[in-house]
Symmetry: C2
């Protein structure tokens, strides 16, 4: 069994991006990081993005509207960033306060600056295999992890567990694409799937993105499979100082020994998400600079 080290691969990508960015004369690519309110997890996520941007040499602009901001005011703020030629990418940190329609806010971001890849047009481009769009960071990160771990999906059966808009569907569409590294046969399972273990046991590559702690057990995995664990779940653990521990959607201790390769949680898919956000920002910069 080989552990796929997301931290290491993300660091490689960051190092590559740093070289690319350092070669840019003049204005550097800039990402606007917009965080509404003071959610503890959001503060830490935005800080991590800011820090990674700085390491790579990207500019970042932190925008911190109060939790009381109205939807109209937030739209106006996004419109400003959309029209600002000094801003290449815009990230609106989720979750937003309950009085704001999150989907509407994500859609307000111009497709050309949608480095999070949540815009309808960019999802359509993933389906159409149109490389001018932005792929959402988590599915893009999964594909990059696979590629850099020497996993070619061609002729493989890829089973995706979960049909969410930000992971399950886009990663299924990516795995299916007619391009080198992809070309997988793809099955998407979810809460309504009958006889789930029989489906997941067919997977040469299993991507678990169902958001249920340790849901995938050894009886659901074919020996020799590659397992990508996208889940990040908090479970109560009295032995920890914080009172909880992080776990994936895969019951790691029983599944890992069966696998050819597996991602740990934390340290697998998670770090890739930030790396892909930075990669998208550089892409947005180049697309904007080149018309």
């Amino acid at each position: 069994m080989e552990l796929i080290d997301g931290n290491k691969i993300a660091a490689e990508i960051a190092a590559e991006l740093k070289i690319e960015v350092s070669a840019i004369a003049g204005r550097k690519p800039c990402i606007a990081l917009l965080r509404v309110g003071d959610d503890v997890a959001s503060i830490s996520y935005v800080r991590k993005k800011e820090k990674t941007a700085a390491e790579i040499g990207l500019e970042s602009r932190i925008i911190l509207p109060p939790v009381t901001i109205s939807q109209a005011e937030l739209f106006a703020l996004i419109d400003q960033l959309n029209n600002d030629p000094g801003v290449d990418g815009i990230l609106v940190q989720s979750p937003l306060p309950k009085h704001i329609d999150e989907v509407a806010v994500f859609r307000r971001v111009s497709p050309a600056k949608d480095v999070d890849g949540f815009n309808t047009l960019n999802l359509g481009k993933v389906a159409q295999e149109d490389e001018t769009g932005f792929v959402a960071c988590t599915p893009a990160g999964i594909m990059e992890l696979l590629a850099r771990s020497g996993v070619d999906l061609k002729g493989k059966h890829v089973v995706v567990l979960g049909r969410s808009l930000i992971v399950g569907k886009p990663v299924a569409l990516l795995a299916l694409q007619k391009k080198a590294g992809a070309n997988g046969t793809v099955t998407i399972c979810h809460s309504a799937t009958a006889n789930l273990p029989a489906m997941t046991r067919q997977a040469d590559v299993l991507i678990a993105a169902i958001g249920r702690a340790e849901f995938v057990t050894a009886d659901m995995v074919k020996p020799g499979a590659v397992v990508i664990d996208v889940g990040i779940n908090r479970v109560v653990d009295a032995s920890k100082k914080s009172g909880y521990r992080l776990t994936g959607d895969v019951h790691f201790v029983s599944v890992a020994p069966l696998c050819a390769k597996i991602t740990p949680v934390p340290g697998g898919v998670g770090p890739m998400t930030v790396a892909m956000l930075m990669k998208n920002t550089l892409k947005a910069y180049r697309l904007q600079a080149c018309g």
Copy 2:
């Protein structure tokens, strides 16, 4: 074995649409049918669409630019139709002459008038389960055929053979949606799939859209399956006056006896496509009228 009669179901839909349209006071919904040049098959397809529109009570506007039209001129024509408040839907008949970029032309059609559902934004909306968009006519027709034949996909394994943009991918996304009638577990197979018969034999519902005459044989189908044949292939047949016959992607004579339900070719999915185009035109009218 029950034959799914596409002609009958399409006629039912047309009759329903006719009632809806007759209730509209004032301007009736209008579809612009744009055909470039004199391709024989295109002439017949556009005529069929015109005739169905007339039966339902929709207006149609036939636009026949010469085969020598430039891409820029065609764009200008589409822009005119995009801006014409008297036109609700725009259909550009495929294929276009070789000197014209077909994908670019389809994208030129305003998403709000894209009754063919080929626009990137509308495909993104299918993925996002956003009902304000237009679903491409063939996949929409397949879902309607299934629904009106009493086939509920929930808990079923739906295997889609083919990953095209206009059939395979959108029908997979539709079958996967979290709504009544859908909720299927979906597998997409294609030319690079290893051990294809083992995959297709798992299908409770098999949707063949691979464009290869009589490709699906009895050994590839599970007894009791529902089979939807999307293929329309011409094969040489000296016994026919025309010198050819039409056949689907399924080897009908050997597969049909195995099936719970199956669509014939012709007379299965084909007629549904025109019916769904008309349904989309009425939808475009209502969306335009209601802002």
